[in-house]
């Protein structure tokens, strides 16, 4: 049971700060989705975790060890990182044999993982002739060679067809159920929503939010009322953070429970046409989390009342 523990991690390239005091944990037995817009610092964080890049400060450990101190890294952590990290003239099987040689895996194990990712028939072909999806399958095969209890995957669904994505999801869910630690970065938010138990969201190198996906989804309340503006003022006064939606009568409220909002509306004589917990889809939440920095700051402290904002402002 090996958690991934990132603590106060920082990394700059020149004057550009890529990762800023990042702290989070990815737990065993859970699939943790690692989300953020392009340039948010996800890949850099993964590279530091895997000792491919050095942190300026802070630590990133697998269990209680740095990656380089693991006694048998390939049997501990499986990695999908660079989708094109192949020699184009080498066959898929030989690519795996090179890796198997280093770690002492058998030829039988190579056949097993090729079968698992559906590449047996193409294994003898040179990788340069592979499609993106086939290269991604080969990456997954390499990651699974050592049957590791930890998987660190950067965009593992890239280029996979629907069946491939379905199979990948099944493999990852199965491994998480066995107590493995699965840490997945992806831009396919709908896929993450189906796959992840926990989320770590970063933007501009900073942690925006983290926690169980279900909790994050329940952390907001959707309200629809013909007097939404009046209600919004009262909700802010009561300590809630309120955003108006695309429809003028719709509000998203954070920091207040459905009971409290219902009572408050009732006491003010404001009719409610809808009152439901839930922050919307992961895509909607992601767009709110990774809006401009001022908005992100207000969202991080969602229990602190702020001004009423519109979702259009957040998105823009």
């Amino acid at each position: 049971m090996l958690p991934l523990v990132v603590n106060q991690l920082g990394k700059s390239y020149g004057s550009h700060q890529v990762v800023r005091d990042l702290t989070f944990t990815a737990s065993p037995g859970r699939v943790t989705g690692f989300l953020g817009p392009n340039g948010a610092g996800k890949s850099t964080t993964m590279k530091i975790l895997l000792d491919l890049a050095a942190a300026d400060h802070g630590t990133a450990r697998i269990g209680d060890r740095r990656y380089r101190d693991l006694p048998d890294p390939a049997r501990t952590v499986g990695v999908v990182l660079e989708p094109d990290a192949f020699h184009p003239g080498r066959s898929g099987r030989n690519h795996l044999r090179v890796l198997a040689d280093i770690s002492g895996f058998s030829l039988q194990r190579i056949d097993e993982v090729l079968e698992l990712v559906g590449l047996t028939d193409a294994a003898h072909r040179r990788v340069g002739a592979y499609s993106l999806g086939m290269r991604q399958r080969l990456c997954l095969a390499a990651a699974l060679l050592g049957d590791p209890p930890v998987l660190v995957l950067d965009e593992p669904g890239n280029g996979l067809d629907p069946q491939g994505i379905h199979d990948l999801r099944a493999v990852l869910r199965d491994r998480a159920a066995q107590g493995h630690t699965i840490f997945v970065s992806s831009h396919l938010l709908a896929e993450v929503e189906l796959l992840a138990d926990d989320l770590v969201v970063v933007d501009k190198g900073r942690l925006v939010t983290s926690g169980a996906l279900d909790d994050l989804k329940q952390a907001a309340v959707m309200v629809r009322s013909p007097r939404a503006e009046d209600l919004a003022v009262r909700l802010v006064a009561a300590g809630g953070a309120v955003e108006t939606g695309d429809a003028p009568e719709t509000l998203t409220v954070r920091g207040l429970t459905t009971d409290l909002i219902g009572d408050l509306a009732h006491n003010a004589g404001i009719a409610l046409h809808e009152l439901a917990s839930g922050a919307g889809s992961l895509e909607e939440m992601f767009l709110r989390w990774t809006g401009d920095e001022a908005q992100a700051t207000s969202r991080r402290s969602r229990l602190i009342p702020t001004a009423v904002t519109t979702r259009k402002e957040v998105v823009s």
Binding site: K47, D51, N94, I102
Partner: protein, 248 residues
Amino acid sequence: MRWIRKVRSELRKLTTTKMPFAFLGVIVLLAAVTGAAVIWGTDMDGSKGFIATAADQRSLMAFAGNAMMGAALFGAVAVAREFGHGTVVPTFLASPRRASTVTAQVVAVLLAGALLSIIGAILIVGSVAIALQFTEYGFLVSTGGVVRVIVASSLTGAAGGAFGAGIGALIRNVGGAVTVVVGLLFISPPMLIQLVPESVEWIPSSLAWSISGVLTEPGVPAAIAAVALWALVPVLAGLTVTLRRDVV
């Protein structure tokens, strides 16, 4: 045991692409050209003085200088392309102790450089021996002389491979690494001799000829030590940079 596995993995990297066969092709071509030169070539005066004595023939067969240059190019391409193709990433993931991984890489390229150079020397010797049958001269080099030519090629080839591997790790770009190898081993030595005439004995081609027995100065031990030093400096530089720099 684990380190031997790393060397085996690096050797497999080298043997599962077409690059060694491309270098072998160049060696075969060189041997053919040398044989053709023996049959049809002449000196400026129209004579065949360049194959008239045992010393002349040994000089013609002394492949060690070419071996060092060729193996250095081989090593530079082999290591720099690892970074270019990104295959260094899975390597360092499977084996994150960079010092031992880079050392295994250098050893593999060194062995490959030595092997290619031995093959090159044997092909050149064979080519000259066959070509001499079509001239009025016999094969005059002693067995000991032939063995020395081949051993010298293996030593300089090994050193060249290590030299190239070090440059490849330092530059991390195939084009840049090849350019630096050519600059250091081919272009800069004549310039160095112009600036410091005493350095003539210590440039790679002179050292290779000394080990092959074509030149007498510097002595063989000193020449071997100097060739090793030529290889060691870029290897240490490449290793230091690899330890300090981010992989990607």
